[in-house]
Symmetry: C2
Subunit: 186 residues, 2 copies
């Protein structure tokens, strides 16, 4: 710890990861439930995702990715290989459904997965265990769980950006000040 | 409308803007309330803002910017000039306060401002009225209100990014897939 005096920079702590994971469904619910389709169906252009698409993608992750891979690492280590994640599953699975219905499902699946995660009572040694990703190769359980958190935040960022860009022209000269629209890094 | 067949691309509609503005406090509350300081005090390095700083900045906007400028446009048009916005007010005003307390204040101020906005019963002609920004020059009320929305979303994106980047190293090889961490545009 002496080399990391900034508490925000210390390494992965599973309890902190769970603090984010358990809040994401409610944050998305507060932001999106009841919004008109002008917002929830907005995209950044062809082959980009709307907020509706993103929620479906998060559901697919709860169903097939995070806990399934956690279990595979614990049970099989690097002798198995994770199933590939289908980044387009939501275009099939969300068809004809309402966003409110998707938000409900995401919240239920996430809560169940966090209950299952807690029941595993992972130790530091468990977090060091490794599995095999079909493209990335050897990865640790710690990296998988940190990615679960960052992936949530990545898609919350995406939803914010997609919606803000509806007003790219409407903000007029303020565009120069809005990094979300101007695309300026920072 | 014939030139804008995509409903998500149609121009500014004040009722749609309000749909976002009224949700932002609850979305931030769901994401941030009760999080440990490891998350809420995290920054992206020197002279960058933490989630705690951002909420204080949003409060300052509610107090001094959006409604004050709206009223100035309606009452004085381009004969006046907006006060400069203090981008650093939160470092003074938030000192010693808790994040939960800031979230409460933001929600109260936003609700009051939206009540005041509704009471103005703005017309399309009102939205075309102009004021004068100290740096950007002539701007319309429509642009100001669109910027209020985009500014909310910009800072929600910033909070997501700041928190995700705590795990820049922890995600290991997944860094390549996480645009929020890799910094890849898109």
């Amino acid at each position: 710890m002496a080399t990391h005096p900034d508490p925000a920079r210390r390494s992965f702590v599973i309890e902190e990861a769970v603090e984010i994971l358990q809040r994401t469904p409610a944050a998305l619910d507060a932001l999106l439930r009841g919004l008109p389709p002008a917002w929830t169906a907005a995209t950044e252009g062809e082959a980009t995702w709307s907020p509706f698409d993103v929620v479906g993608h998060l559901i697919h992750g709860e169903r097939t990715d995070w806990l399934a891979r956690t279990r595979m690492i614990l049970e099989r280590g690097e002798s198995g290989e994770f199933d590939k994640f289908d980044r387009f599953a939501q275009f099939r699975d969300s068809a004809g459904r309402s966003l409110d219905n998707l938000l409900d499902e995401f919240a239920e699946l996430r809560a169940a997965n966090l209950r299952d995660l807690a029941a595993l009572r992972l130790t530091g040694a468990d977090l060091d265990r490794r599995g095999r990703h079909p493209a990335l190769g050897s990865v640790t359980l710690r990296q998988l769980l940190a990615t679960w958190v960052a992936h949530d935040l990545d898609h919350l960022m995406q939803i914010s950006r997609v919606m803000a860009r509806r007003y790219s022209d409407e903000v007029g000269p303020w565009k120069a000040y809005l990094r979300i629209i101007s695309g300026t890094a920072g």
